[in-house]
Every structure is written in C-alpha cells, then in structure tokens.
Symmetry: C2
Subunit: 219 residues, 2 copies
C-alpha cells in the first residue's frame, strides 16, 4: 500500500519513540516531535490504524505493527544511506546533512536505494554512527555504551551520537570530538556528573553529563 509523506513522517517518529520503551506511545509525545497539535495526531493515528500500520486504542496510546515497523525501517535506511552519500561523496559535514536527508528519505524507488547502497560500498553506519538497517529491516547490533556509563580511568572509542541536532554536532566538532576519537575518562564530578576527558594526547576537556549521555562509545 502506498504511503504519503505525512504518513511516513508519523511512522518514523513513532518508531523512534517506541525504540526507547516497552510502553505504548502517547499522542502528546508524537505531537511534539511532528510539530503538530494533539488533535491532528489523533486523526492520523486513526488512519494509520485503519491501514494496519499501528495498533491504537483510544486514550491508551499506540504501537507499530510489524508492517508499520518495516515501513519505518525502510525510511530510516534511506535516510541514513543518503546521509552517508552527502558526507562521503559530496563533502558535507555531519551537522549539515539532516534536513536534506529528511527530504531524500521519501524518494520512492527500491532499485535506487539498493544501487546507492552498493555505490557507497554497503556502509553499516551513517555519519553519526547510527546503524543502517538492511533491506530486510535488520539493524546491525553495535553494542555501544553511552559515554556517561563509562567508568573512571577507562579508555574508549567514540563510535556515534545519540542525538543528531546541528547544535550538538557543532559543539562536538568544536571540542574536537569526532568519530573514532580515543577518549580517556579522567574525572567524573559527583556534583553534576560532568566529565573530564583526555582526547588522544591532547590536553583534557570538560563536558556536561548531558553531552556525555549523547555520546556513544565502544570500550
């Protein structure tokens, strides 16, 4: 069944909200991320339920069905592959590609996305370290930790980010934190859980807990 642009955006956002939790997703949380009003969301949830892409009970929240999830995954796959293209082939920075990929992810062509995948040499992660779902909807399990979970004096490698807003990515860039950086946790402030880090052989930097939470690393 064909999906409209609006439907695809809802499914993608519901997927993101489902990821974190076992609970059903609230109308309001969807309204926030789609930048729509709750009433509009209710409307759309009823349509999506009709089409069999979500299970939805009045006042009780919403979940993706298997079909809904596979649609969401195919959009995420397209989004992330296009991001790789924009960074690797066209020379964009990692903080510049989100908006454009938001448009490109809706281009409809099965062959296109597979040819693109092959052209890019079948990347497993996008420029933010997020895994790229396979054509079958499988997500490579990367087993990353949040930097905020790493113990004192441990060393790890920066593998990705849990948030790809431009301001956050620009902050990391300014701090010289980029994919692949070797990080040593020098200090964890008990008061505010801010972290002191050594990047490779450079002099230490401080980051807030909020930043540490959104950095993904591998030990």
């Amino acid at each position: 069944m064909a999906t409209s642009l609006a439907e695809e955006n809802y499914l993608k956002i519901i997927y993101r909200l489902c990821e974190g939790t076992k609970e059903d997703i609230s109308t309001n949380s969807i309204a926030e991320l789609t930048n729509n009003k709750a009433a509009s969301v209710t409307d759309m949830l009823q349509k999506l339920a009709e089409k069999g892409w979500v299970t939805y009970q009045k006042y009780q929240g919403v979940r993706l069905t298997n079909i809904g999830e596979s649609i969401a995954l195919s959009i995420i796959r397209k989004h992330r592959l296009w991001e790789v293209f924009l960074v690797e082939k066209l020379g964009y920075n990692w903080d510049e590609v989100h908006e454009i990929a938001e448009q490109l992810e809706h281009i409809e062509s099965e062959t296109l996305i597979n040819k693109l995948d092959s052209f890019l040499d079948f990347p497993k992660i996008d420029p933010h370290g997020d895994p790229i779902p396979s054509q079958e909807g499988e997500i490579p399990e990367l087993g990353y930790l949040h930097l905020s979970e790493v113990k004192l004096n441990e060393t790890c490698t920066l593998m990705g980010v849990a948030k790809d807003s431009a301001v956050f990515l620009q902050l990391l860039t300014k701090l010289n934190l980029s994919l692949g950086a070797r990080l040593e946790v020098l200090e964890i402030n008990t008061f505010d859980r801010s972290v002191s880090l050594k990047i490779a052989e450079e002099k230490p930097i401080f980051i807030s807990h909020e930043v540490a939470k959104n950095i993904l690393v591998k030990i």
Copy 2:
C-alpha cells in the same frame, strides 16, 4: 517565495510548452501533460498568475514571466543533474532514470545541487543529450539538427534525443543507436520519409520519419 510540488510541476510543463512556440499556451495542452482536467489547470493558472510566475488572461492562454522561467530552469537543472548522477554513478540505463529524476528534482537545497554539479564534474548535457542549465539559468546552445533534416549521404554524430520516453529510448538501444554514434544517411524514402542509415561500419538499418525527427545530431 516557496514553491509547492504541484506548482513546480506546472511551471516545468509550461516551460516545455513555451519552448516550441511564440504563442501563448493553451489550458488544454497543460491539462494533457499534467494529467489533470482543464478546470483544475485554470485554477492553478490563476494562482500562478497571483504569484507573478505567469502572465495569464482568461481564454487567452498563458506565458511564463522571467521569474517563472527561472524557477522552471532550476527544476530542469536539478532534473538533468540527477539523471547524470543516476546513469554515471549508479549505473542506470538512459531509459530508466526519468521517473526517479521526477522525484529528485523537487529536493530543495541550493548547496546540494551545486555540490552534486561539482561531484559530477560540471556536465553540460544529461544522458539524453539535453543541455543542463547553469545556476544562472543559462542553457548551453548546442546547435543540434534533427536527423530528419540531414541531407542524403551526409554523415553526422548522434548527440541527443528530442523525446525521452522509455519506449523510444529502448527502441534506440535495440537499434544500437547510442550517444556518440556516427551515422550516414544512405537513403531517404520519398513515400514515407523513412530513412536508411549506416551506423559506423555495421550493416544498414531502417528507421521511420517519426524516429528520425526525435534524434538530434551534429554534422
């Protein structure tokens, strides 16, 4: 001012219809190419006129203004650059790229299209030999003839096509007629104006006047 997808498609089609003629364009001809009904076209023409992209007088047809033309040219530029990308980088055939480029041409990002242009090495023509407008809306003048205009016994080079429907392109491919082929006009049938051609050193082929009309060549 922002352009919607529907508006962009109208402008593009009006541009194509204007190209051929000095006359104003009829509502019906637009309806045919957009696959809409005449009544819908009238509606849209009034909106486009409001926005200053066409000049339009009831019952008297329509023309693009300078602004309208520059919008149309930027869409055509995007369409043709994406076609080059699809063929050169992703390995599509020339008869497979139209539909996908119809979608990609609406992606909105000035930087994207210029980075793409540079990535493709600033091509002057698309995979069908059509000129690619510059960022400033200039169209490289190629001075091609229709094969149907070439005189008996003259030799020419196939530079492009005047029609890029998949069936036409597939026919050319089957006849071994591709961009750059050297063609010698062996015979022109006065009865139906069909043409006998020699391609390079191979044995002659016959094509109809209709086909010859849609092949662009350089002497």
